[in-house]
């Protein structure tokens, strides 16, 4: 008996440490990267540079907040995100001729529509979320190229100089003259997302679904609706990101948003959200997004090219997923 209780005690301590690392590990990582950056370059630890870091990943953050709901619900990731970013941006540019409000609204509605389709197919018909959303991304890509004949579209050609300026300036607004609007939107979404996850019926039930879909169903949770809502929120966030990205790059194009899927998942998992679902929070995702920003910044300061940076990002993704699976297996043992 003594041996057993000792073992439990040890396990408990180990789980506690593991839990702590999972919750705050990403902020330790940020600290390490900050120290590393400072050692590498004296340009690193300046307010300007750090502000740039956050600015550079704010769009990714906006998208990641949305995808987090999907991951948290145990449905891994929404891979249709790049498609939604491109499509909603292009629709927004196309509709700009009817005014800025119509443009923004139609961009968001576009995201909502794709989200509804995902919600129905994954939530109701129980399709494999990864395969399905990949297929959606693929189809959207085809549709966009067909609609616009594979060309990029320019706001000024579509709606004239005045509206185009308004649209392009959208993502360039600085709140209080200092904080870019993308950063503000990102932070507001993190806060709203965190409240949704922890304080609402949706969030609490989503946690149950993420922990065990069958149990949630057998407990009377409207699993179809809740999972659907997660995909809708993901698509909406992606369309917000898509409109802002399009405004920032001044061009609507089918390739806008490429890579946002994997980078979002990397940030989410870095932030301590379990790929198996039911675990994690938005504050962690905020950290995960910042880590990606810092990493890119440091690599740039080191003179590493964009392509090589992609390799590093890929490696980080593999590492993070491996670690996540590893700790899950440990957890799985505890389940048995």
């Amino acid at each position: 008996m003594l041996v057993k209780s000792e073992r439990i005690e040890l396990n408990k301590r180990r789980t506690k440490t593991a839990g702590w690392i999972e919750k705050f590990g990403v902020y330790i990582m940020i600290l390490v990267l900050l120290i590393l950056g400072t050692l590498i370059s004296n340009k690193f630890l300046t307010i300007d540079n750090l502000a740039n870091v956050v600015h550079a990943v704010a769009l990714l953050g906006i998208v990641a907040v949305g995808v987090t709901f999907v991951t948290y619900s145990g449905h891994f990731a929404d891979m249709s995100v790049p498609g939604i970013i491109a499509l909603s941006g292009m629709v927004a540019v196309d509709m700009l001729r009817y005014g800025l409000v119509v443009s923004l609204a139609s961009g968001l509605v576009t995201g909502l529509m794709v989200g509804l389709i995902n919600a129905f197919v994954v939530g109701k018909l129980r399709a494999n979320p990864i395969i399905w959303t990949l297929a959606v991304a693929f189809v959207i890509n085809g549709v966009v190229r067909w609609l616009y004949r594979g060309e990029q579209i320019y706001p000024d050609l579509k709606a004239g100089e005045k509206l185009a300026t308004a649209f392009v300036n959208l993502a360039r607004i600085n709140i209080g003259g200092a904080v870019p609007i993308t950063v503000v939107v990102f932070l507001v979404m993190v806060i709203i997302g965190q409240l949704l996850l922890t304080k609402t019926k949706f969030g609490v039930q989503l946690k149950l679904i993420g922990s065990s879909y069958e149990v949630a169903r057998m407990t009377g949770v409207n699993v179809t609706g809740m999972v659907g809502l997660a995909f809708i929120l993901s698509a909406l966030a992606a369309s917000i990101g898509g409109i802002l990205l399009t405004s920032l790059v001044k061009i609507g194009a089918y390739y806008n948003g490429v890579g946002y899927d994997f980078r979002a998942v990397t940030a989410i998992v870095l932030g301590g959200v379990s790929l198996a679902g039911g675990k994690g929070n938005m504050i962690g995702v905020l950290g995960g997004v910042v880590v990606i920003g810092l990493l890119n910044n440091i690599l740039t300061l080191l003179g590493v090219g964009t392509f090589s940076q992609t390799i590093v990002q890929g490696l980080v993704f593999i590492l993070v997923v491996w670690f996540n699976t590893y700790s899950l297996r440990k957890l799985g043992k505890a389940d048995g």
Partner: protein, 504 residues
Amino acid sequence: MDLIPALQMKKVSKKFPGTMAVDNVDFEVYPGEVHALVGENGAGKSTLMKMLAGSFNDYTGQIYIDGKEVKLYSPAIAKANGIAMIYQELSLARPLTIAENVLVGRLPVRNKWFLDKKALIEETKACLKSVELDYLDPFTPVEEISQHEAQLVEIAKALGNNPRILVMDEPTSALSREEVERLFKIIGKLKQQGLAIVYISHHLTEIFQVADRVSVMRDGRKVGTLNITDVTQEELIEMMVGRSISQVNNAADRILGEVVLEVKNLSRYGFFHHISFCVRAGEILGIAGLAGAGRSELGRAISGVDPVDAGEIILAGRKIKVKNMAQALQYGIAYLTEDRKTQGLALRLTVEENLLAPLIPRHCKGFIYQKQIGTGIVKKLIDDLHISPPDPSRIVGNLSGGNQQKVLLGKWLATGPRVLILDEPTRGVDIGAKVTIHTAIEKLAAQGVAVILISSDIPELVRLSDRVLIMRKGHLLGEIPGKACTEEAVLLAINSEGEIAHAS
């Protein structure tokens, strides 16, 4: 007999925390013998056989195969010693072909790399011939053959390793009458070939048909081994139950109220047919039956988890349609699943989160979930059910089986149900947890809740129930009223072939 036993177990024991699952058991099987192993759930049959399969490396006692001592500390060692197991759940990969399944792990190859198709067909045919399935094409996927053929393929697969000892655990639970006869014929043939067969079943009639000797286990001990010709079914049941005086039924002085739930002609085709019964407030209605009797399916259908094809559910005089669990909960019908680990509890969440899971919608004000409303409920449930450790923030997966089961019960108690359907509420729990759960169930009935108790634990059914319904193969055969309800009566009723005498 001066033969050397194919298998001899001498004073074997296996201890689990808190209980001796197998306690000093002697057990032997001779070549060419079918030795049946019977006992109630939790008597230690499965543990004894798991020991044989090499699942434990810490059993005590000696095991001899063909007179030589062996230490069966891993499944590989057990297999190498000629032990083959056939479980209730088939271990076949359904999309793969029969050949691939039968020869799994030893597919014939030539030149090291390439599959030898000719040898593959020949070997599979040879294996299939031993179970009279040689009419099947070895390249048919398993999912395209019938259930009973799959069961025989499973046996062929086991025989392919040339075992000395074959253990069959409830091999007939999914088979029809004729298919069982065929299986028995094949078992007879294997016997003649000198195989030693251990046959585990709850169907006592089958045992009289197929076995040469029978061993009875109870509470981890072997009660006795007898030649099948020297014993009657009644005597066997008495040995399994272990008392000639029947268990006292507590239900006698319970006061019953109005009918709360009535079910009329309820059917889910293929699972249960034309089931009619009613439950009163404060009543505990037991449902007994063997595996495959349709008891769980009935419970799931009433609580909206599975669809209903025909019939009516009437709650307090009002006809209702239950489309899903959420609706069932609104009507005050709760269903405790038999599958705690995958359907009952979110093992990665805390005790508190699990207990409050069904109450989330009720504890919301507008959009906001008011977690603190539940704190008192959680504390009360932990106290009432003696959940240990009494810590609401403990991860449920780290609790013992008994305490997990208490959390599962607590989760449904928290909803304050009018009708509570319990499906195997004490499966696999220790005796302490069992007593707690039984007390909670009785208290619930005393508060006027209508309880439907589905259980394979017959002493439990007899002790708690006011009446026991008997189900077999999807049909309701009748009921045994509380006064006449003894373990023997229930065991006889679920095993017997004809209608039961007590049908009301």
